[in-house]
C-alpha cells in the first residue's frame, strides 16, 4: 500500500511545563496557514496511565485503553483531528493509506524553572501507538494508518537500493540465569514467513553463532541489510552506578550475560551500513526512566532512539517500548517480515502496523502486546530499502570486500555534499581543489567496486559540461570468459537527467537506443562479442551515452541509475549486476541551467 504522510512535531512549552506545542510539518491539505500555526496542548496522559501500561502483571482493559487512546489522540492532534480525518479521506480516495509521523523536539519533563505549572510526562513517553479515534479505532493497529516516531523535524534518508538477496543477520541470545526467550520458535516463525523468498534466494537469513558481541562485530563486516536481535533488553544500572542505561544482553563465551549499551552497539554498526535494526527484546524503545531520587539528567534514552539519531546509524529501528512476551515476539516477527519483504515498496511503519494488527487479532485488545512495537525512522517515504531484482550471488569474500568500499564511498559523498552546501564564495573557491580531490577518490572507489564483482554492467560518468551535458560510458566486465550474444540494459526513469544521444561503444558492432516517451531508456546490442570469446581481463565498452542535466539545484553529485542488465552469455540469458553512474555537478553548470 502507498501512503500520504501527516507529519507533526511536538516540543515542550518553554514557559509552562504543563503544556506542549504541536505543529503540523507536512500534510496533503492545501492550507499553508496550518503549517505555520503552533497548537498548544495539555498532555492528557499521566504518569499513572504510563504505570498502568508498563505493568507486566495487569494490562489495562479495552475500555480503559480506548479512553487512554482518545487522550493520546487529543494530545497529539489538538484541534487537528479534522485535518487528520480530511487527509485520511483524501488519501483513501487515491487508494492510499495515511502515515502519521511524530517528531519530538525536546523531551524535557523535569519542570525547568522557567516553566510554571505541574510537571507532565516527557514527550518521549507519550505512547503514540495507543492513539484511538472513534472513526479509526486504534489507528496504529490498522495497516492503513501506520504511526511512527521520527527524531528530527524532517526525515533525511532515501531508501537504500538493495540488490537481492536481502541479507538478515539474526542474533538469538539466551544467557544462562536469564529466563528463556524461546528464540528457536521465533527463528522458525521468521523462516516460515519468508519461505518462498528463502527458497528463491531473494532473502538470506544468517545466524550469529556464538551470540557474542565480539562475533556480531565480526559478522557485521560481511555486509547485512537487517540486524535482528532476539533476546533480553533492559533499562538498567550496570552494575549499580545509578545511571540507568538501556542494554542488550549478549552471551559471553561461557554463556554468561554480557550487557552491551547503545554506544557500543552504535560503534559496531558505524562501519556496517545496516539500514534496519529490529530488536525483539524488552524495553529497547522505552524512554529514559524517570528516577525521582536518582539520576535526573535524561542522559539516556532507549536503544532505538539513540541508534537512529546518530549520523552513521541505521535509517530505522523497530523495537519494543514495553516488555514483550515470547509468544508475542514470535507473532510480531512473523507478520512483520512477511509484510516487509514480500510486499513491493512496503514501508517499515506499514509492516509494523501489519504486525500490530496481527498481535491484536492473536491476543486481543486487552493484551498490550499490540502496542508494544515502536518504529523510529528517518526515512523520507518510510521505505528503508528498495529491493532490486535477483542478480548474481556474491560470495562472502566479495561482500566483505564491498563493505569498506561502500562505506568509504558514502563518507566521500557526504564530504562532497558538505562542500557543495558552503555558501561563502571565498570558501567555495578555496575548496575547489578538495572537491576535485574527492572526485578522484570517488572515481577510484567506483573502479575498485567494479573489480569486486564478476559479471557487471557499469556506467561511468564524470563532469557535467557547462551546457549541462555529460558523456557516459557503458561497460561490461565478466567473471568468466565466454561468448556474449545479445544484451539489454535498461535505465531507471530520472527527473534529473534526460537522454540526448547514444553511440556504439568501441568493442561492440552495433548498439540501438530505445528512448520512447514514458518508458525508461534501453540499450540493446546484438551479437555483442561477434561470436568471439571475450576474456575476463578488460572492461568492454558497450556504448557511449550523452545525457543532459535538467535539475537546477546546485548538487555536487548525481546518480544515473541502471535498472536491469540482461545478457546472453554462452547462449543463456542472465541477469548481470549493475553499477550506477556517478556524475559530478559543477557550479558553472548549475548557473547555466538556472538561467
Amino acid at each position: 500500500m502507498k501512503f500520504d504522510e501527516f507529519r507533526i512535531s511536538i516540543e515542550p512549552h518553554l514557559r509552562d511545563s504543563s503544556k506542549w506545542i504541536v505543529r503540523v510539518r507536512h500534510c496533503s491539505l492545501p492550507v499553508p496557514a496550518l503549517l505555520e500555526e503552533p497548537f498548544v496542548c495539555e498532555p492528557l496522559v499521566t504518569r499513572q496511565d504510563l504505570d498502568q501500561l508498563r505493568n507486566n502483571r495487569v494490562h489495562p482493559d479495552p475500555t480503559t485503553l480506548k479512553e487512554l487512546g482518545q487522550r493520546v489522540f487529543q494530545t497529539m492532534l489538538p484541534h487537528l483531528s479534522w485535518a487528520y480525518r480530511h487527509c485520511y479521506e483524501t488519501a483513501q480516495r487515491k487508494g492510499k493509506g495515511l502515515r502519521l509521523t511524530v517528531s519530538r523536539l525536546g523531551t524535557t519533563a523535569m519542570g525547568p524553572p522557567l516553566a510554571a505549572g505541574p510537571i507532565t510526562i516527557g514527550i518521549d513517553e507519550l505512547p503514540i501507538e495507543a492513539a484511538f479515534h472513534k472513526t479509526f479505532s486504534f489507528i496504529a493497529a490498522s495497516p492503513k494508518t501506520p504511526v511512527s516516531w521520527a527524531v528530527a523535524a524532517k526525515p533525511d534518508r532515501d531508501a537504500k537500493p538493495v540488490a537481492a538477496p536481502l541479507r538478515v543477520l539474526t542474533v538469538i541470545s539466551e544467557p544462562r540465569h536469564h529466563p528463556p526467550v524461546a528464540g528457536n520458535a521465533e527463528k522458525k516463525a521468521i523462516l516460515k514467513s519468508l519461505g518462498p523468498l528463502l527458497t528463491n534466494n531473494a532473502v538470506v537469513v544468517n545466524f550469529c553463532h556464538p551470540p557474542t558481541f565480539q562475533e556480531l562485530r565480526l559478522r557485521l563486516q560481511e555486509g547485512y541489510h537487517v540486524l535482528h536481535f532476539i533476546g533480553h533488553g533492559a533499562f538498567n544500572a550496570i552494575p549499580a552506578d545509578q545511571i540507568p542505561q538501556p542494554h542488550l544482553y549478549f552471551e559471553d563465551d561461557k554463556r554468561r550475560s554480557r550487557p552491551v549499551d547503545g554506544e557500543q552497539l552504535y560503534m559496531a554498526l558505524t562501519s556496517s551500513n545496516v539500514p534496519l535494526v529490529v530488536l525483539t527484546a524488552c524495553s529497547t524503545a522505552a524512554p529514559s526512566p524517570r528516577f525521582p531520587n536518582h539520576y535526573p539528567g535524561l542522559a539516556f534514552e532507549g536503544l532505538a532512539q539513540a541508534l537512529v539519531e546518530r549520523q552513521a546509524g541505521p535509517s530505522a529501528v523497530v523495537a519494543m517500548q514495553f516488555d514483550i512476551e515470547n509468544e508475542a515476539a514470535r507473532v510480531f516477527s512473523s507478520a512483520f517480515y512477511e509484510k516487509l519483504l514480500t510486499t513491493p515498496d512496503c514501508t517499515v511503519d506499514g509492516a509494523a502496523a501489519e504486525a500490530r494488527s496481527a498481535l491484536l487479532a492473536e491476543f486481543g485488545a486487552h493484551n498490550r502486546a499490540w502496542l508494544t512495537p515502536s518504529v523510529y525512522s528517518r526515512c523520507r517515504d518510510g521505505r528503508v530499502f528498495r529491493l532490486e531484482k535477483l542478480r548474481s550471488r556474491l560470495t562472502n569474500n566479495k561482500r566483505a570486500a564491498l563493505l569498506p568500499i561502500d562505506t568509504k564511498l558514502q563518507a566521500y559523498r557526504e564530504n562532497q555534499e558538505d562542500i557543495a552546501s558552503q555558501k561563502i564564495p571565498e570558501i567555495r573557491a578555496a575548496l575547489r581543489s578538495t572537491r576535485q580531490h574527492n572526485e578522484l577518490v570517488i572515481q577510484q572507489l567506483v573502479k575498485d567496486r567494479a573489480r569486486v564483482f564478476g559479471n557487471l554492467v557499469s556506467l561511468y560518468g564524470g563532469h557535467t559540461g557547462p551546457d549541462g551535458t555529460i558523456e557516459c560510458v557503458l561497460t561490461l566486465s565478466l567473471g568468466a570468459a565466454g561468448v556474449i550474444d545479445d544484451a539489454r540494459v535498461s535505465f531507471r526513469e530520472s527527473t534529473e537527467f534526460e537522454f540526448v544521444r547514444g553511440a556504439c561503444g568501441r568493442d561492440v558492432p552495433e548498439a540501438r537506443f530505445r528512448n520512447l516517451p514514458d518508458l525508461p531508456l534501453e540499450v540493446v546490442v546484438h551479437h555483442m562479442s561477434g561470436g568471439r570469446v571475450w576474456d575476463v581481463a578488460p572492461e568492454y565498452e558497450i556504448a557511449t551515452l550523452t545525457f543532459r542535466l535538467t535539475d537546477t539545484s546546485d548538487k555536487s553529485l548525481y546518480d544515473i541509475k541502471l535498472a536491469e542488465a540482461r545478457i546472453q552469455f554462452n547462449g543463456k540469458w542472465r541477469n548481470f549486476d549493475t553499477q550506477d553512474g556517478i556524475v559530478f555537478g559543477s557550479e558553472a553548470t548549475a548557473a547555466t541551467i538556472s538561467e
Binding site: 516540543e11 562501519s271 569498506p404 562542500i419 575548496l431
Partner: protein, 424 residues
C-alpha cells in the same frame, strides 16, 4: 594532538563490570592517535565513587540549576579525586617532563560525561586552576585540523537567541557580559544579532566570522543537546549540533555557548551534550557553561578570555585556562568558575594562528581550509574504522593514510607561504 610542551593524559570513564556501588572503569591513553589505533588495548582500572551519582546528581541536589558553594564543590571534587585509581592519580601528579599536563576527559556518551569533573580537587585548589594542568573535555580526533591563520581583527558573531522574548531576558545586559570584553579592542570585530530564527543566523554567517558566540537557552532532546531559537509566540526552533555544524562556515573555529546570567536557563545540561556531540559531527572546539553562574564571574571570564586568545596566538586551551583562573579568583564563596568547560574537538585546542596579513594570504587561507576539510574526512574515516578488525582495518588504514598524506602535503604548502607575517 600533543604540542611537545604538554603531556596528555586522556581518560575515558565507562560503567564498570565490577560490582559495587557507583563503580566505574577508567582507561588512559597518551594521545588521540593512540586512542584510535588501540581502542581496547589500554589497561583499565576500577573507580569507586561511593554514592556520588545518587548524592551529587540526585534530583534534590540540582547542581546545574543552583550555584553550588565553593565548599560543596571542593568536597565533591575531592570525592571524585579519591575515587580515581592510584596509577591515574600518579599520571596526573607526576607526569615527569614536560611539566604541563593536559587532562582530557573523553566523551563516552554515558552519564559519566555529565559529572562535574571540573570540580576535581586533590588538595587545596581545584586541579583545573593549577598552573601545570589544563583540564579539558575531549572529543578525540584521529588527525588534528591545522590552525586557521587569520588576519586581525578576529571576527566574533554574537547571537542573542531568546525564544522567550525580551519580556524575560534583559538582552542588553546579557550581551554586555560578553560584548563588554570586546567593545574597545582593536583586535576584535564583534557583530551582535538577535537571532530569533535559523535563517537569520545563516544569513549572518555569510560574514565568515571566526568565533560563533551563542547566548541563550539550551534544551535536551533524548541524548542530544540543542540550542533554542525562534520567538515563543511562533513556537521554538530546536537546533541540534548537526544543524549548526551544517551551516557554520569553516572560518568558524571556535563556538562559545553561554547561558544567561540574569534568568535561569531552560535545560542547561544541553550545552555540554551539544558540545560533546559525536566526533562525526564537524563541530569546532567549543566552550560551554555547564551549570548556573553569577554575572560577575561570567564577566570576568570573558574579559580575560578574549585578550588571552590574541595574546596566546589563538591557543584556546591556554586562553581558556587563564580565563578560568581569573573566574575562579572572582567567584568568591561560589563555584561559578567551574561552570566553564572547554570541549576540544579539533585535535589541538589551538584553532587559530594570528597574522598581520600578507600578499599570499589568499593562498594560505585556501590551503588551510583544504587541510581542515581533509582532516574532517580523515576523522570521519577513523570513526567508522574504529570498530573494524583484522584485514579490513588494514585496508581502511590505507585509505586513511591517503587523507593524512593529503593533509601533510597541504601543511607543507601552508608553511611554504612565507610572506605571511605571524604575530609571534
Amino acid at each position: 594532538m600533543n604540542d611537545g610542551r604538554t603531556r596528555d593524559v586522556i581518560l575515558e570513564f565507562t560503567s564498570s563490570a565490577a560490582s559495587g556501588e557507583d563503580a566505574l572503569a577508567v582507561r588512559a591513553w597518551r594521545d588521540e592517535q593512540q586512542y584510535y589505533r588501540s581502542p581496547l588495548a589500554a589497561k583499565h582500572w576500577d573507580v569507586r565513587l561511593p554514592k556520588l551519582f545518587s548524592e551529587t546528581l540526585g534530583a534534590g541536589t540540582d547542581w546545574r540549576r543552583e550555584i553550588s558553594s565553593a565548599e560543596s564543590a571542593k568536597q565533591r571534587g575531592h570525592q571524585l579525586w579519591s575515587g580515581l585509581p592510584d596509577p591515574v592519580r600518579q599520571m596526573i601528579l607526576h607526569p615527569g617532563s614536560p611539566d604541563l599536563t593536559k587532562i582530557a576527559l573523553v566523551r563516552t556518551g554515558s552519564g559519566v560525561d555529565d559529572l562535574p569533573w571540573e570540580w576535581l580537587n586533590d588538595n587545596e585548589n581545584p586541579l583545573a586552576v593549577q598552573g601545570s594542568i589544563r583540564l579539558v573535555r575531549l572529543v578525540p580526533s584521529s588527525y588534528p585540523a591545522p590552525p586557521l591563520t587569520i588576519p586581525l581583527p578576529i571576527r566574533v558573531l554574537l547571537v542573542l537567541a531568546s525564544p522567550d522574548a525580551s519580556r524575560v531576558v534583559d538582552g542588553r545586559r546579557e550581551i554586555d557580559v560578553v560584548e563588554g570584553a570586546l567593545r574597545n579592542s582593536a583586535l576584535y570585530e564583534c557583530k551582535a544579532i538577535k537571532g530569533w530564527e535559523h535563517g537569520e543566523i545563516e544569513k549572518a554567517l555569510a560574514w565568515a566570522p571566526h568565533i560563533f558566540h551563542y547566548l541563550g537557552y539550551a534544551g535536551i532532546s533524548g541524548t542530544r543537546g540543542s540550542l533554542l531559537l525562534h520567538d515563543m509566540d511562533r513556537g521554538t526552533r530546536w537546533m541540534p549540533a548537526t544543524e549548526l555544524a551544517a551551516i557554520l562556515p569553516p572560518s568558524v573555529r571556535l563556538v562559545c555557548l553561554s547561558t544567561y546570567v540574569g534568568v535561569d536557563n531552560y535545560e542547561l545540561g544541553g550545552f555540554m551534550k551539544f558540545a560533546q556531540s559525536p566526533a562525526e559531527i564537524p563541530l569546532p572546539t567549543t566552550i560551554v557553561n555547564q551549570h548556573s553562574l553569577d554575572r560577575g564571574t561570567a564577566t570576568e571570564f570573558w574579559k580575560e578570555f578574549y585578550p588571552q586568545l590574541t595574546a596566546r596566538n589563538g591557543n584556546v586551551t591556554d586562553a581558556f585556562h587563564f580565563a578560568r583562573v581569573a573566574a575562579w579568583r572572582a567567584s568568591g564563596e561560589t563555584c561559578s568558575w567551574a561552570s566553564f568547560s572547554l570541549v576540544i574537538r579539533d585535535g589541538s585546542g589551538h584553532p587559530f594562528r594570528l597574522s598581520e596579513g600578507g600578499d599570499q594570504e589568499e593562498n594560505r587561507f585556501a590551503a588551510e581550509v583544504q587541510a581542515q576539510w581533509a582532516a574532517r574526512m580523515a576523522n570521519t574515516l577513523a570513526v567508522r574504522m574504529r570498530p573494524l578488525q583484522g584485514a579490513v582495518q588494514e585496508q581502511w588504514q590505507n585509505v586513511l593514510q591517503t587523507e593524512i598524506d593529503h593533509i601533510k602535503a597541504l601543511e607543507r604548502k601552508i608553511s611554504g607561504v612565507a610572506s605571511s607575517r605571524e604575530i609571534r
